[in-house]
């Protein structure tokens, strides 16, 4: 029954999406507003339809309907309830359906919130969004259907009796439920972690979110309404998508750090890079769109960035899910590769042609010229150049080089993490430097003297901190330079907030707290942006510390004995086996961790024996200064082998991530003032 409900609502959503696409385009071509209303309603209805479909799949997962092959492949009778639920995105078919649900949720929001204000963009915006949704729903319906069931057709020869289909084949009987339950596969143990519970949904939200800016941009290009409307409609959606994508990337790193047990969080794997690429272009867009808003410049460039972001999302999805690119993220090689590649190229081609056409007609002329190389707009362009260079380098290393070499040399050439670092470290340094200088420059033109005086204090603070680091014993030049550059960007952000608050205090007699709060309220995007910069600074410091100063060592210890690593010591106390609730056996070592001779924690690194594989679960003692991280490699009651990692400052990566998200939320948070008034004021301001 659940399979039927799911299948029918999935088919309904697909039909609605196709209809909405056609109705929206026709309404524009035939100038028929009634058709647009109808298309809009169909578009809005895809969301409840998909909610029902996903609800049916979740209900099937929770109620152990193993006849449904998806349920059979991702859960087994031992799977706890929480992981039954998250199994929705545990594998390709479910996650594709979930992806569509999130896309339709975004579309629902975009249409409801922007319907009145951006009516003229709606026909093509709805068409673009719905075409994208229809494509993904088509994949779910025809190629990766999560509602397929196991059937047995007794009349066929024995080898062909078992089929997996969505519709009941003639003469089929249902398999016996008990035996299905016995053979069910269960969720990959690597995915049983809180990072995996929220990482995929966040990443998907980020990915699908970029469909909205793309749809409005394409609508502007196709309809010729290239006023600021599309920017107004998209900038908040871009920020929202960006929040989720950032969160997805950070949680993915956290998952890798906790679960994969190599003490790192970013491995430059092609699939990780595929998710990072849209983030880079999206970040470039978030910055350069401000220039268009303030100065009416870079109109073509912003279109390029919006299109490139969406294009990168689609390419990333293709790369991740088709299985064509060699990666540790093992999605099965699947049939959806070619349709995805086709959809990606068609959408990119349509958007690029529309852009060239409008540009050719001179409709994307800037209102100002770049007058000064130190002006804020010039520095923003430089920022864009750096993000695009990062994009190009990472794309080249992950996809360009392997594909080109395979085509022209007949052998695949790849690069490793070291080369990615070689590419990107200089660019990241340039990014931090610009993050420090650009906020202090002025629109139009900046004199070097003014810039110099603004830079003095942050620069002095940075030098002071670096000097303190040297005094406290840090002697690695690379690390000092890295800390310096990151700190500089952070001090500038703080200094800017301080300057703004000080000016308000002088003007209005507010206290520091009141002045700062008012400052953030008045210009959310600017000051939210500085909080994001602070977050990026904190992340940078964490990355530098944990990369350059990581300690890694392996010891075999007899029971009762201790080993000393840096100022920590680890005593092996006990070793035993125990059984978990779901039946798996756990091999547990008990160790006592001491620092400077004082016991600080009892840790229990362990190895869990899952049916598919053993899984190493680290024992960790975490402080802001260090993560002490111990893996049990193997052992017995007498002796055990441990691998120890000390990762300095790594927690700053996660805390910086939280700051970054917080800052973006501030920037994207809807203004409290009524909509009409705020718009008038914005117009007056620009």
């Amino acid at each position: 029954m659940l399979a039927e409900i799911g299948l029918v609502s999935l088919a309904l959503a697909f039909a609605l999406a196709v209809y909405a696409t056609l109705a929206a385009v026709t309404s524009r071509v035939r100038r028929n507003p009634a058709l647009l209303y109808s298309g809009r309603d169909a578009a809005l209805l895809t969301f409840p339809a998909l909610l029902l479909a996903v609800g049916a799949l979740i209900a099937a997962l929770m109620s152990e309907q193993y006849q449904m092959s998806y349920v059979w492949s991702v859960t087994d009778p031992q799977t706890p309830a929480l992981y039954r639920f998250t199994a929705l995105w545990g594998s390709q078919r479910g996650s594709l359906l979930f992806w569509s649900l999130l896309l339709s949720l975004f579309i629902f929001g975009a249409i409801s919130l922007n319907w009145r204000s951006e009516r003229r963009l709606m026909p093509y915006a709805i068409a673009t969004m719905m075409a994208t949704l229809a494509f993904f729903l088509g994949l779910s319906l025809f190629l990766e259907n999560p509602f397929e069931r196991w059937w047995i057709i007794p009349d066929l020869p024995e080898a062909e009796q078992v089929v997996e289909t969505a519709l009941i084949p003639p003469g089929a009987v249902a398999p016996e439920p008990g035996s299905l339950a016995n053979t069910a596969t269960g969720l990959n143990p690597l995915l049983r972690h809180f990072g995996m519970i929220i990482h995929p949904p966040m990443l998907y939200l980020g990915f699908v979110g970029f469909t909205i800016p793309f749809a409005f941009a394409l609508a502007a290009l196709l309809s010729g309404d290239l006023s600021t409307g599309w920017i107004r409609a998209t900038r908040r959606w871009t920020l929202i998508a960006w929040i989720f994508l950032s969160l997805g990337l950070i949680l993915g790193g956290r998952w890798a750090y906790d679960v994969l047990g190599w003490g790192g969080y970013w491995g430059w794997d092609p699939v990780e890079n595929a998710a990072f690429l849209p983030w880079l272009v999206g970040t470039a867009f978030i910055h350069s769109v401000m220039i268009q808003e303030k100065r009416g410049m870079l109109k073509t460039w912003n279109m390029v960035l919006v299109i490139a972001t969406f294009s990168a999302v689609m390419f990333g999805t293709f790369a991740t899910r088709s299985g064509v690119i060699e990666s540790v993220h093992s999605f099965a090689r699947s049939e959806i590769g070619f349709p995805m590649l086709a959809f990606w190229s068609v959408m990119t081609l349509i958007a690029a042609s529309a852009l060239l056409w409008r540009r050719g007609r001179g409709e994307l002329q800037g209102e100002h010229q770049f007058a000064n190389i130190l002006s804020r707009e010039s520095l923003f362009v430089l920022n864009n150049v750096i993000f695009i260079a990062l994009f190009a380098a990472i794309f080249w290393g992950s996809f360009g080089l392997p594909i080109v070499s395979e085509l022209f040399l007949g052998v695949e050439v790849t690069i490793g993490p070291a080369t990615f670092e070689f590419y990107t470290v200089p660019l990241f340094i340039a990014m931090y430097l610009l993050m420090g200088i650009a906020p202090l420059s002025a629109w139009g033109a900046t004199s070097l003297r003014r810039l110099g005086s603004a830079l003095a204090l942050p620069l002095a603070l940075t030098l002071l901190c670096v000097a303190l680091l040297v005094v406290s014993g840090t002697s690695v030049i690379v690390a000092l330079a890295g800390y310096g550059v990151a700190l500089f960007a952070g001090f500038v952000a703080i200094y800017e907030i301080f300057r703004g608050a000080r000016a308000r205090r002088r003007g209005g007699g507010e206290g520091w707290f009141g002045a700062t709060a008012a400052l953030f309220r008045r210009n959310q995007r600017r000051y939210g942006g500085y909080v994001v910069h602070l977050g990026v600074t904190v992340i940078g410091i964490g990355v530098i510390g944990s990369t350059i100063f990581q300690t890694e060592a392996q010891y075999t210890v007899a029971r009762g004995d201790s080993v000393v690593v840096r100022d920590y010591s680890l005593r092996f106390d006990n070793y035993f086996r125990a059984q978990a609730v779901d039946g798996r056996m756990m091999n547990i070592a008990e160790v006592t961790l001491s620092r400077h001779g004082e016991p600080i924690a009892q840790l229990r690194p362990r190895i869990d024996d899952y049916p598919q594989m053993p899984m190493t679960i680290a024992g960790a003692h975490s402080t802001l200064e260090n993560d002490f991280y111990v893996l049990l490699i193997g052992g017995s009651v007498e002796r055990a082998t441990f691998r120890i990692y000390i990762n300095p400052l790594i927690n700053l990566v996660w805390w910086g991530g939280i700051l970054l998200i917080l800052g973006t939320v501030i920037a994207a948070y809807p203004k409290v003032v009524p909509a009409a008034r705020s718009r008038k004021r914005e117009v007056a301001e620009s």
Binding site: V74, Q161, E164, T185, G261, A371, I415, G416, L427
Partner: protein
């Protein structure tokens, strides 16, 4: 961007430029444009240099076990290889953190990695290669029928010394593994009769 370019722009002090003075704007534009052009070209060259030199240094061929075993040109060169892990050969020296195992050549073209790995291991004639990875924790995924992707070099001792080890276990997690699945409902058919 060169420093002299920056100084020039300050000497000109563009601060008094405004949009109402188109003549000034035109004039300033040309010299500024020149700076933008020079700056842009310099940045482009720097990025290209980064990419080209990085690629030349770090590029390594991604080849098969057959290639590395049969072609002496690869001896001692850092390459990336992929092979099927033979579970019986896995040996971990936990005191010294040294992993040893053997991999078997996987034929170039295949549809389904899980069965390709199984077939490769069943083929007694397939090329084999001894692997050693030093100073590494024993990876959970290192087991029979895993695909190992290794970076390292084949040394004169005939052993491939790997510095990087990635593993994939398709047979354990891939949701559509036809051979694995066909058995299930047959069971259930027997159960229902």
């Amino acid at each position: 961007m060169s420093f002299s370019a920056l100084n020039e722009s300050i000497a000109g002090d563009m601060a008094d430029l405004s949009w109402e003075k188109p003549k000034n704007l035109q004039k300033a534009k040309r010299s500024e444009r020149y700076k933008f052009l020079v700056g842009g070209v310099l940045i482009l060259l720097a990025v290209l240099y980064l990419l080209v030199s990085g690629t030349l240094q770090g590029a390594r061929y991604f080849i098969t076990v057959n290639d590395v075993v049969s072609d002496r040109a690869y001896l001692g060169k850092t390459v990336r290889i992929s092979g099927a892990v033979d579970g019986e050969t896995i040996d971990y020296d936990s005191e010294n953190a040294i992993i040893r195992f053997e991999i078997v050549n996987i034929p170039g073209e295949f549809d389904d990695l899980a069965s390709a790995l199984r077939d490769a291991l069943a083929d007694a004639e397939a090329a084999r290669l001894q692997i050693v990875v030093e100073d590494e924790a024993m990876p959970d995924l290192l087991q029979h029928e895993a695909q190992a992707i290794l970076t390292g070099s084949l040394e004169a001792d005939g052993i491939f010394h790997a510095s990087e080890l990635l593993l994939k276990c398709p047979s354990r997690f891939e949701e559509t593994s036809p051979e694995g699945l066909s058995a299930i409902p047959e069971h259930s058919l027997a159960g229902s009769e």
